[in-house]
Symmetry: C2
Subunit: 204 residues, 2 copies
Amino acid sequence: MPYRPTEKTRAHREAQQKNLLKSAVKLVAEEGFKGLKVSKVAKRADIATGSVYKYFESKQALCAEVFKVATIKEVEKVRQQALEDKTLSCTQRLLNTIEIFAQRAIQGRRLSYALIAEPVDPAVETERLIYRKAYADIFTQLIEEGMAREEFRPQPASISAAAIVGTLSESLVGPLTTAVESNRDIETGDLIAAIQNFCLGAVT
Amino acid sequence: MPYRPTEKTRAHREAQQKNLLKSAVKLVAEEGFKGLKVSKVAKRADIATGSVYKYFESKQALCAEVFKVATIKEVEKVRQQALEDKTLSCTQRLLNTIEIFAQRAIQGRRLSYALIAEPVDPAVETERLIYRKAYADIFTQLIEEGMAREEFRPQPASISAAAIVGTLSESLVGPLTTAVESNRDIETGDLIAAIQNFCLGAVT
DNA sequence: GTCTATACGTCGATAGAC
DNA sequence: GTCTATCGACGTATAGAC
């Protein structure tokens, strides 16, 4: 690679980085963060192990980036369900949001377990805090709207929002852990209904 | 000290270890896990830095142990409120449990933040999973009893229990983080009431 | 990107128990 | 006298500052 960035090298660099990230996410989706070995990622992305560090400061940074790109996608799905279609009642949107989140988590168990619960490097843990806040902000808006429409009882929206985020992750940790460990399926329907009822009762 | 463990040396060893742990917990209560330096703990416990490794395999192990002893205490408080006094209604016990948990968390902010939310070594994270399960088991019992008494609506107890654990930790993370960062107080009353209402609505 | 400061964990020496 | 717990300085890795 040349010593002055040109348009071409910049594009190449970005493509390589994206490729690397994609391989890393896939690896985490298969084996969790504990399976994310730099050499393995490099091999999949078809570059030398050492070159990984040309694109990411450290393994920590790579992990954090993997977490970010994977989580942003989930946050966006949740945002859509929660806030986009204003023709639906807030109650309905809350139920839909929970369903989408849980459904996706159960579908992509290993990745979701990695994102939500797997013990990981503090750097990733810090990102978790940030993105749980992002989820909470979405629910805060939904709850405020629900209160304005008098669908939900008066309540401190941000506290309830945080509580819902906690409810979602914690109620899925157990099932996800079991499913990942034993590679078995989850009683999806009952689980989702239980979480929906819990949250609905909590805010109304 | 003798070269074959006797009663006396055993006692000495245990006392040393306890002293070390106590110093470590105090340190974490003041500065969080990020402030837990081996040399500092050693100094407080009045032993040499190197000797710490005679009692704990590694810093990780020390951290994990600190987490355990501090958390077991909290779990026990929660267990008492939730399950001990059978003359109280389950509803009342649920409210009391939430109050105790939140009150103690807000009181000992720094320690609670460290135990609940601070980004830490994966070894400690693993312990978090274990003890959140311990909390969940307590709430599972309480909810089952509440359903039997027809105070709570029919629901999968273990899922609701996990949800309550998630609610408690997540709704306190924000306030604790703010309080720790700015060293300010928390609007205790409103916060606790909000969490209580949320959980009560969720299970009834 | 380099440089410094800091902290983990090890090791040889020492002192003191049996 | 033998053996071991403790000491504390040092090597090495790392993280944070400029």
